[in-house]
């Protein structure tokens, strides 16, 4: 008899979750739109991943220690990434800060094709096939862009497509003395 109550119980639990989420939204303790990053001001996660452009090589963030760099999470399946691509290209040209790409849950072949067609703004591109590294970075959805300081701390984060204006507004102030913005 009790097993017939299982569907009702399951939906009741689901309702509980929704009520809880709505309550927290109401109290301002949960904002599904604003993506807070617990990473801001904290040391950036390190990673070693195979390179997309040359699968025999590895991309290792340790090699970047001591300098400021940008991490951009993208995928060929992601529309917003295409949207921001021309901005990334322009940013790569205008600054000396290296942009490290994390190609998220993607197919290497497609990624190489994408970069060959649209241009490659990245100094290095890492293949995060199973998405483990993206989880370390707290990635909510591609594209996301992080700025890491020379001391290895996450300074700023952009969720969603980047534009040159957004870049100047959010990231520009950290870039003084880093070889232009």
């Amino acid at each position: 008899m009790w097993r017939h109550f299982a569907p009702a119980a399951a939906f009741l639990a689901l309702g509980g979750l929704f009520a809880f989420a709505l309550m927290r939204i109401g109290q301002g303790r949960l904002d599904v739109h604003e993506i807070r990053s617990p990473l801001l001001g904290r040391p950036a996660p390190t990673f070693v991943l195979p390179s997309v452009t040359d699968p025999s090589r590895l991309v290792d963030t340790k090699a970047l220690a001591g300098r400021m760099y940008v991490v951009n999470v993208w995928g060929t399946w992601c529309g917003g990434c295409r949207e921001e691509h021309s901005a990334l290209m322009a940013i790569a040209h205008s600054t000396t800060v290296p942009i490290i790409g994390i190609d998220w849950k993607d197919d290497g072949q497609q990624a190489r094709l994408y970069l060959a067609q649209l241009g490659n703004p990245y100094q290095q591109v890492a293949a995060d096939r199973d998405g483990r590294v993206a989880i370390d970075w707290g990635v909510y959805g591609a594209p996301e862009t992080f700025l890491v300081s020379s001391s290895g701390v996450v300074l700023e984060k952009q969720v969603g497509p980047l534009s040159e204006a957004l870049w100047a507004e959010k990231f520009g102030r950290y870039l003084q003395g880093e070889g232009g913005s």
Binding site: H4, F5, A8, L17, I25, C78, Y140
Partner: protein, 653 residues
């Protein structure tokens, strides 16, 4: 004054709904014929006043009455008339009113077309529909009235969101809502049957055409949305696994499962508790979709303005209907022991597999859609579940589903011997395999991705298999019953869809190029020559139009125009793609950004067989329509009353 009449009509409709549900449910419970006779006029009254209320809101839009807050927020005097009408359902409040209008229309149809149902059963069905209407009307009046005044009135309106200013998107919501809300009919039939304690083949037969009708609308609505996204969002995809797309897809999967399990319940009296559960699930998932879109709980391009108070109200409604009906189910289910058995190889087993796979797909999509929210709510971090997850969890059940479909269609009830069809099926499988290889190698010149040949073969096999019976009957000079013909057509559509998806996924070519006027680029053997841009202006937007001449070798194919529009009021840029359609491929051109020095970025795409995705959906929906017109729904309807009377606690007349 006129908008206030809109509120008043809605209040009257609310009161009539209360009467409809009270006299329907209490009348059947207490067996009072006079109470139950009130229900039909109440249903008609509800419809009249809801329609009046909807008409008044439409009138306010047509006459640009910017003293109504909702009109001022979603229209503009420069907006063309057709979009002023479509703007009625362009945002939360008005679309809720449309939801209610469609619900009361379904109720009116049920009342009008079910005069042969047992009186008490019919009263209960309409009573439950009235209860749903009551819930949503009170929600509208208390939290989301579209008639609220804006004083002083705005000088002009803030305009309709530009992405909604499109013919396909103007009819996408009504179509989708007809499907969503249509699942409430199957739900009401299920609840009425459970209240009466009589769940039998008759119940399944009455429910079937309504479920198919709702499914048809849902299919068309989803296909329209997908088609719109393809040409309007400017990057040529046709499905994005957006949270709200998923919210419409889950009820579709559940109603597809329901249609099939209803067949078993009607023909064999089996799966009764499962069928009830599916009827509840299909409607629950529709309500869940409504909740997800309107509560602001998920991040999506579709979200309406979010408001936790509204969210809580719909959540309460949702829980009342879902948990209430499922609790009723828990009390009734133990008495529903299955009737006869069936062999391992039988139509029943195939349909059971169909149901298991469809429900598995729906559940996996549900988990993927809600998981990020659950993690977030409990502070476990923000995660994202992207298309790779959904493609995977959908493909895994869908592939066996399609392959079994071709065989299952011909399995007999109880115990199938596929002997009669074995040779034909093998022949068709062989032909499908050859056709698939030929399409891949000769048509497109490569094996494509790993599943390409399998996809083409499965699609061809399903299409061929669907044709067996119609062709056989036609050669014998006999007609096929409409239900069987409808099934064949619908499954043929599924095959077309599979071929379309396979073609696009395997052979699409997308190329982003920077071109100056006079430059050209080549994609899939087609040469795209950029002819330059010119400014154009529409009724409420300015645009830059790029023209591209397409040729193949020396033969000109077409000239395409693509626009980048900026709407005057809201200032959002919108891309309008130029598309050349042919039976075997689309050529797609979308204008991107100006790169300087007169160069423009252009997205050029070659989309083989993409049309078959939407054509397949349309054919499947037509199959549904044909099935609804089957004679037995009409003939038996007139004889149902005496047949249902003996031993029935629910029959009064």
């Amino acid at each position: 004054m006129i908008p206030e009449l809109g509120t008043l009509s809605l209040i009257i409709a609310l009161l009539l709904s209360a009467a409809q549900s009270f006299f329907g449910l209490a009348g059947a419970h207490r067996n009072r014929l006079s109470w139950m006779q009130v229900v039909t006029p109440a249903v008609a009254g509800v419809w009249v006043f809801v329609a009046l209320s909807f008409g008044i809101l439409t009138y306010s839009f047509i006459t640009n009455d910017f003293s109504v807050g909702y009109v001022a927020g979603n229209s503009n005097s420069a907006l063309p008339l057709v979009y002023r009408i479509a703007a009625v359902w362009g945002a939360h409040e008005g679309s809720l009113l449309l939801w209610i209008l469609i619900l009361s229309t379904w109720a009116l149809l049920v009342a009008g077309l079910s005069s042969s149902l047992p009186v008490a059963f019919r009263a209960r069905v309409l009573g439950v529909l009235g209860l749903i209407g009551l819930g949503f009307m009170s929600f509208t009046l208390l939290t989301s009235s579209p008639f609220t005044r804006l004083l002083p009135a705005a000088a002009d309106g803030a305009d309709l969101n530009p992405i909604l200013q499109d013919p396909a998107l103007a009819i996408h919501p009504p179509m989708l809502y007809m499907g969503y809300v249509g699942t409430s009919v199957a739900f009401s039939f299920a609840v009425a049957a459970m209240l009466a304690g009589r769940i039998d083949a008759g119940w399944a037969r009455w429910t079937r055409p309504w479920t198919v009708a709702a499914w048809m609308c849902l299919t068309c609505g989803i296909a329209l949305g997908s088609w719109w996204a393809y040409y309007e969002l400017g990057w040529g995809g046709w499905w994005f696994w957006d949270a709200v797309e998923n919210a419409s897809f889950m009820p579709w999967l559940a109603s597809t499962a329901l249609i099939h399990s209803l067949a078993v319940t009607e023909k064999r009296g089996l799966f009764r508790s499962w069928t009830l559960l599916l009827a509840i699930f299909a409607f629950s998932l529709s309500l869940l979709g409504t909740f997800l879109v309107r509560s602001g709980i998920l991040v999506s391009v579709h979200s309406f303005a979010s408001d936790p108070a509204r969210g809580l109200y719909i959540l309460a409604l949702l829980m009342f209907f879902i948990v209430g009906s499922l609790t009723l189910y828990a009390f009734r289910a133990p008495s529903l022991k299955g009737g006869g058995g069936f062999e391992l190889v039988s139509r029943e087993s195939f349909l059971l597999l169909n149901n298991a796979l469809l429900v598995a797909a729906a559940l996996l999509i549900l988990v993927g859609t809600l998981w990020p929210l659950a993690m977030d709510a409990f502070n476990l971090g923000k995660i994202s579940v992207g298309p790779p997850y959904f493609n995977m969890v959908f493909l895994v059940p869908a592939l066996p589903l399609v392959m079994l479909l071709g065989i299952g269609m011909h399995a007999g009830w109880k115990r199938a011997s596929l002997q009669t069809f074995r040779r034909k099926l093998l022949a068709i499988a062989g032909v499908a395999g050859v056709l698939a290889l030929a399409t891949a190698l000769i048509g497109f010149g490569s094996f494509g991705v790993p599943l390409t040949v399998l996809g083409f073969a499965a699609g061809c096999f399903v299409m061929g298999s669907a044709l067996i019976e119609p062709v056989q009957q036609w050669r014998r000079g006999q007609g096929l019953p409409r239900a069987a013909l409808g099934m064949a057509i619908a499954h043929f559509g599924v095959g077309m869809f599979v071929i379309g998806v396979t073609g696009v996924a395997s052979y699409k070519i997308e190329k982003d190029v920077g071109l100056a006027a006079g430059d050209s680029a080549t994609v899939a053997g087609y040469t795209f020559k950029f002819l330059g841009t010119q400014p154009v202006s529409g009724p409420n937007y300015e645009a830059i139009e790029g023209r591209v001449a397409v040729s193949r070798g020396a033969t000109p194919v077409t000239e395409l125009a693509t626009q980048k529009r900026t709407y005057r009021v809201q200032q959002n840029p919108m891309t309008h793609a130029g598309i050349d359609v042919a039976w075997n491929r689309d050529l797609f051109v979308a204008l991107g950004d100006e790169l300087g020095a007169d160069k423009w970025s252009l997205r050029l795409q070659y989309k083989p067989l993409v049309r078959y995705i939407w054509l397949g959906a349309l054919v499947a929906a037509i199959g549904g329509l044909v099935a609804i017109l089957d004679r037995r729904y009409r003939v038996r309807r007139t004889t149902a009353v005496p047949a249902a009377a003996p031993g029935s606690a629910s029959t009064v007349a």
